[in-house]
């Protein structure tokens, strides 16, 4: 019983230690807290971004205020492609080097990429309802994006159902490399199969002068903001993965110690 009390005692101490302090956002134990700083910068960028979307960007003459969804929808889609590009690169690196850090980067990027692409689909549907008078149309762009979403949800499911972490890493790497092909298909879909979906306004496929100068600046700023958010979220998710690996290591050594104790004569 005394032992139990001794273990329970530090739990309150942990609760006390985990109290939030604003100063920890910048510096922890005399070292700069990179994640905290990035969170702070992203928060400021988000506030400025909202100001620019609602106060600086002009109202679209035809679509009205609903067009402002575009400043969230387009960056969410583009940044999800960046996340899937990170999965692709990290998966190739893992296949050649077999280092856990690459697998962790691929896993974190895929999970956050799924969050971003889900939001891109949802915000697109919210935009489509008043503009197309339909939540969803089976246009090539929308269909290929839905396939992309399914590919990366499958990636996460395959990883979680894999029998061991090493198998999860290799299955994930294979899927991360093959799955990236659909990102290319999604981007070029409006050129290959023209339809009702608006054509790209940024990137190599964009027409010059397709977007007003102020609108373009706000869109580019929004992309920068979402890139900062992506970087912060990937770092946060990788830190969580490090903790999961650490916990797995401790449990493994505890089990090994228990097994050695159980062997008679040792």
């Amino acid at each position: 019983m005394a032992g139990t009390e001794e273990i329970q005692q530090p739990t309150s101490e942990i609760a006390f230690q985990s109290k939030f302090r604003w100063s920890d956002m910048i510096r922890v134990d005399g070292r700069i807290n990179l994640r905290g700083c990035l969170l702070l910068v992203t928060g400021i960028l988000m506030l400025v971004n909202l100001y620019m979307i609602f106060m600086v960007a002009p109202t679209d003459a035809v679509l009205g205020h609903v067009q402002r969804i575009f400043y969230f929808h387009v960056p969410l889609a583009i940044v999800s492609f960046v996340a899937f590009l990170a999965v692709f690169i990290a998966s190739i690196a893992y296949v050649f080097r077999r280092e856990t850090k690459w697998d962790n980067l691929a896993h974190a990027s895929a999970e956050i990429g799924v969050v971003f692409i889900t939001l891109a689909l949802v915000t697109g549907m919210i935009w489509a309802k008043p503009v197309w008078n339909a939540w969803w149309l089976w246009t090539p762009r929308l269909t290929t994006t839905l396939i992309l979403w399914l590919i990366y949800v499958a990636y996460l499911m395959i990883r979680s159902y894999a029998p061991s972490p090493s198998k999860a890493a290799i299955y994930g790497a294979a899927m991360g490399i093959i799955g990236f092909a659909d990102v290319v298909v999604v981007y070029f879909s409006v050129q290959w199969w023209p339809g009702i979906h608006p054509t790209p306004v940024v990137g190599p496929l964009a027409d010059t002068g397709s977007l007003d100068g102020t609108m373009r600046s706000v869109l580019l700023f929004s992309m920068l903001t979402f890139l900062a958010l992506l970087t912060y979220l990937i770092m946060e998710r990788m830190a969580l993965q490090d903790t999961v690996d650490q916990l797995r290591g401790i449990r493994f050594s505890l089990r090994r110690a228990a097994r050695q104790d159980a062997i008679p004569g040792d």
């Binding site: 109202t59 969804i69 929808h73 915000t123 935009w127 979220l233 946060e236 916990l247 505890l254």
Partner: protein
Amino acid sequence: MPDLIALQIELPSSNLPWLFAAFAVSWAVFFLYVIYVTRRQQEMQNQIRQLRRAMEQQETPEGD
């Protein structure tokens, strides 16, 4: 032309709820995701601390 002006006046206010919905959903999802990651991180760290303490206690001879 009067039709276009009427459209410009009518549309911006009529579709504001859609704009609000899109931004509200995005923000809600981001906050929920960050809360999920942070809480899992805290739980795992607490488990690590408790396991480390348990290991230290196991390593300490019973007589001490």
